[in-house]
Amino acid sequence: MSLKIAVLIKQVPDHEAIVQIGADGTLDIEDRYVCSFFDEIAIEAALDIRKAHADAEILALSVGGKRSVESLRRAMAMGLDQVEQLGDDSMDGADGLGVASLIAARLKTFNPDLVLAGKQAGDDDMGAVGPMVSGLMGIPLVNAATAIDVDADGGKVRMTHSMNGETWTVESGFPVVVTAQKGLAEPHVPVVMRVMKAMRAKIINTSTEDLGVSAADSTGRLKRLGYYSPPTRPQVQMVGDVNELVAVLAQRGVI
């Protein structure tokens, strides 16, 4: 049986990019976008699995407009050959459930054994889409996996993840949704040749209509009220010796 893997990826601002609140209250985001940190781990994990299962079929999916295409080119440069953009820029404002609905609709026909996503996306840090895809498809979920071992013939996957202070090794049959935590795989930097080739590739698009999902259903559950600066701490108080430190800690009631 040939293994089928879907990898869900998203283009987000680089973690070094400057993100600020503009004068009009919207965000000024420096124009440095990359494939999200945990999503590259998911891509690499899929590539690792293909090393042991040469006939594995891997489909990378990204929901949204032209930035989605960029993330798919990255996936191609890293070694995936089957990629697909779902929807268009009308999906860029969708919430997690909107994105998950489109993905679940596409996966109905792809019929994956394994769905790999990131633990959370580098922009909204929500951690919603992976679990939501599992909920919509009614299939098992293993969040924040740090190790994965696929036994295609036995029809099962073994994973490790951290569960409230313990490390759990769990096993699931197919299909299963697994989200990637750091440690699951070590993403490699693609070679220039492949990057060039990926830049020229034609990227397939499947529209929301084709998938029978309305982009309008993807909004309306969440309304953004505004952005705020992160809370700041008052100026640090420097202390000269440990007795002084202990005295202040006692005064603050934390020891």
Partner: protein, 323 residues
């Protein structure tokens, strides 16, 4: 069908309500009070003693007393909460923790009932009749405020966002409810190993001593000794985890844990934004670093410039002397 309640999903550890669980109950109590709603704790599985303990801090406990819920399974727990909604009506909101289990259960449940979901909330307030939540985005560079326009609104709350609920003058009631429990999703647990933390979840620790590259190798023992003197837990920066010196469960930061202890002592940690994100909601932050210009001092309440090799043992000693 709807009910005028806010539910707090109370997680239990070794038969005790966790600190984060008490905070969730407080969140439900505060927000319910403002709108004349009822706060309820939802208990999945467990025993009568635990249900009674919960009733000490909240007016009503909805106890799903079914032994099939005692072992955690994301699909079963999400399904049971879905069943509770069918039986009792949709609550106004469901609050849960940012722990590893609820981070699976709640978004899965939100998908099952088409509800709005937001994770890692640090503030919750009413905006008219909708709940508005504040949460970090872009790795904490900014915070967003979102209104959740569905019923129920589903929220996971960061520890430290609320104070722990105080005991009620008179205990609340415990209502045993039987709901349909779905079959296991087929994820079986092969092995449960307690981490180096002795099974204690760093997310729930009150005092944490964390070490970075400045305490790599044998010097990390100084961190452990200080944690011991504080009855606290140990943690690490990514530098030590990547170097294979500390397990990943102990990593604090963007790609590790987000924690909000009362006291966080950063030792030999430079204070990269990715690290700070995991601890900046701690109540009191202390930084010990040999570099007076280290960015960690900007994220700290109290700072000491110097060598960890000298300061940590002296601090441990001073704390012991106080006991």
């Amino acid at each position: 069908m709807a009910c005028n309640e806010i539910w707090a999903v109370a997680r239990i550890r070794d038969g005790q309500i966790t600190g984060a669980g008490l905070q969730l109950i407080e969140a439900a109590r505060e927000l319910a009070r403002e709108k004349g709603l009822d706060a309820r704790a939802v208990l999945l599985g467990c025993d009568r003693a635990t249900a009674d303990e919960l009733a000490g801090v909240v007016n009503g406990v909805l106890w799903l007393n079914d032994e099939r819920l005692n072992e955690y399974d994301a699909a079963v727990h999400a399904g049971a909460l879905f069943g509770l909604m069918e039986a009792r009506g949709k609550p106004v909101a469901i609050f849960a923790g940012t722990n590893d289990t609820d981070s699976e259960v709640v978004p899965r449940l939100a998908a099952m009932c088409g509800a709005a979901f937001a994770s890692s909330c640090v503030k919750i307030r009413w905006e008219g009749d909708d709940l508005a939540i504040r949460r970090p985005v872009f790795g904490g560079k900014v915070y967003e405020e979102l209104a959740l326009l569905s019923r129920p609104a589903m929220v996971t709350v960061r520890p430290g966002a609320f104070d722990g609920a105080q005991k009620l003058a008179a205990p609340g009631s415990v209502e045993e409810i039987s709901v349909e429990i779905p079959a296991s999703s087929g994820v079986t647990v092969v092995e449960r190993a307690s981490s180096a933390q002795g099974g204690q979840d760093l997310s729930d620790a009150r005092r944490v001593v964390a070490g970075g590259r400045g305490v790599s190798g044998e010097s990390y023992q100084k961190v452990e000794a200080l944690a011991d003197a504080l009855d606290g837990s140990i943690a690490a920066s990514r530098a030590l985890v990547d170097a294979g010196e500390r397990p990943h469960e102990q990593q604090v930061g963007k790609s590790g844990k987000t924690i909000s202890p009362d006291l966080y002592i950063a030792c030999g940690i430079s204070g990269a934004i990715h690290h700070v994100l995991g601890m900046n909601t701690s109540k009191v932050v202390v930084a010990v670093n040999s570099d007076p210009d280290a960015p960690i001092f900007a994220a700290a309440d109290l700072g000491m410039v110097g060598d960890v090799m000298e300061i940590l043992p002296a601090l441990a000693e001073a704390l012991r002397a106080r006991k």
